[in-house]
Symmetry: C2
Subunit: 364 residues, 2 copies
């Protein structure tokens, strides 16, 4: 079996489980730091372990273009290439290709696109995207999907659901490796009927997991949470549920409350590179003058090595001086905070204290 998932406890919709993958176990709810180009920007695998990461995400679109399949296969797969021996999920590249708007041509068989690096032409099909991810030896592969930008017309949404279903069926047929779990992606924008249709099309494929795509793409936070809750409830309870592209501390807590098990987002690393500090009590920018002489840690409620070692004043100085180390330290801290948030959420569900935990983050 490519992946087994067991549920240990629930509280309302919130779920506490364990996902067993080829390269190890993931306790859920879990946040997955994003390593787009086979590196979580600025951090080593050792840092990721220290920052309590259980699984990392990498990106089919970017890896396809650079370094490319042949180098990754010659390296012995993506795990060995990037020296991370824990679980890896690769997204299908669909989201990136559909972001290229002027540079791609879509047909029912697949999508042809030009590289943002050198303009060269490439083609993704449901089959070759699965094969690529299997060649990399990842633990979880995602099906190629069509992700529409919001707001979108009803027709565009219906069309994307139809194509996503057809492509998921082809991907499921193409799927070969027993140690790579294939996840399908539910689309449907903010349309409940389209989401229902997408889920009911995909569930019969009986894949090891289901993602909710097409959210966190420009809609309001309330719409995102509403659609995540609506869609999660459509999915089989015995399978892991992955909400793509989320998020912030508040969004993660809200989405766990919707019954989601897995998340990914560039937010902790991207915001960290810009001086933004995530904490359990809110965010701030460490460049602000208020922090220049503050010798307290980034977050008093954080047990990470950065908070144990450095002061706000020092990290603030690093950003003012445009020092590389600032980006590194804040990426590390922010990834730790989201992983630690998930660990606290798991403990709260285990202890039957989820509602109070949730409210402590979401109450105004």
């Amino acid at each position: 079996m490519s992946a087994t998932f067991s549920l240990h406890a629930t509280s309302g919709a919130a779920r506490r489980g364990t996902l067993h993958l080829a390269h190890g176990r993931v306790e859920t709810p879990a946040f997955m730091p994003v390593g787009t180009a086979a590196t979580v920007k600025g951090l080593t695998p050792r840092d990721l372990r220290e920052a309590a990461a259980q699984i990392v995400l990498a990106n089919t679109y970017h890896l396809w273009l650079r370094p490319g399949r042949d180098t990754l296969v010659a390296a012995g797969g993506l795990h060995r290439f990037m020296a991370w021996d824990g679980p890896i999920l690769t997204d299908s590249g669909g989201f990136q290709v559909f972001s290229l708007e002027s540079k791609r041509t879509l047909d029912d068989d697949g999508v042809t696109f030009r590289s943002h690096l050198d303009g060269s032409t490439h083609r993704f099909t449901p089959e070759n995207v699965v094969a690529f991810q299997e060649d990399l030896g990842v633990d979880i592969a995602m099906v190629l999907d069509e992700c529409v930008k919001l707001p979108a017309s009803d027709a565009a949404i219906v069309d994307s659901v139809r194509r996503t279903t057809a492509w998921a069926r082809r991907a499921a047929t193409a799927w070969r490796r027993g140690d790579t779990a294939l996840f399908a992606i539910v689309q449907g924008g903010l349309d409940e009927r389209a989401r229902t249709r997408s889920a009911s099309d995909l569930i019969p494929l009986d894949l090891p997991g289901y993602a909710i795509g097409g959210l966190s793409v420009g809609e309001t936070r309330a719409d995102m949470v509403r659609m995540a809750r609506f869609t999660a409830a459509l999915l089989p309870p015995e399978k892991p549920r992955y909400l793509m592209g989320v998020g912030t501390v508040r969004d993660l807590v809200a989405a766990v409350d919707c019954g989601i098990d897995m998340f990914d987002c560039v937010y902790p690393t991207r915001s960290g590179r810009h001086g933004r500090v995530l904490t359990h009590a809110g965010e701030y920018n460490v460049r602000n003058a208020a922090h220049a002489r503050d010798f307290s840690p980034l977050d008093r409620d954080c047990a990470c090595e950065v908070c144990a070692t450095y002061t706000r004043a020092y990290v603030s100085h690093l950003f003012r001086a445009s020092e590389l180390l600032g980006m590194r330290l804040l990426s590390y801290h922010n990834v730790f905070v989201l992983n630690d948030l998930m660990a606290r959420a798991r403990a709260a569900i285990d202890a039957g204290a989820w509602t109070a935990f949730r409210d402590s983050y979401l109450a105004e």
Copy 2:
């Protein structure tokens, strides 16, 4: 005593010693990685320990401007600010100020300069530069000197030697802290008479150590080595000798052979940020196409964690993809290589095998 130095062995001019400083022991010959703005770019203190750094250098000019004395004092000194508990040497800022050519005005009392950051006006004197370094609590403070750019007229060199001597005397008088060792700097360009004059002026001050300044500033390598050898021989054998701004693997070996004990240079970190790999067998750029599919380590003769963990292909990929992690990994490796080179040099001198060791690096 602010610093004690003991010599254990010599081979020709090459020396093997131990320097005891307020924050610990430095086995010499020793390389000092440069942490200009209170950070060795991209590396943490833990990395530096792993990369076998014994002492780091920081920069009076840069720290004076940002974050400034008051923040550093409020932090509890430079060690606590940057979370490095080993020895620190700060340079005097002389080299940086004299590089500002159009932005500084020199007189016999000191030098007035404008900040490269915001144009604000500042003044260094021999006294306030020592006081600043003592306020930071560093292990080794350097006297304010006048470093002339080469080539220079005889008159300019004579003048800089005269002023450097006068300033060193004032610095020695201003020096207060017993746990900060004050080092003087021998100037004199490529002129043996000026170097002799400078050394004979400074030696009577009986300071804890002597640096050789004004080299590695544009002269040929042969001139650098010749003047380092000439100047080192003028210095008291019982005091540590520090050659400023060196260097590369070959330059370090050549300079140890001249009887130098300590070195600093941005080379391993700056070149690392540009993809340049230092090895015991020579340098190369990891971006080169030849390395894109090379799954061997950066340097087969290196025991650092980067070489144990990652391949040339991966590091090459990181540089092609402009990933932060590439700069970090290569800075770490390069610093390790120079520290390891010094460890091997120490072992060779201890074992009476210096000449063969030296020749293995310097023979064409």
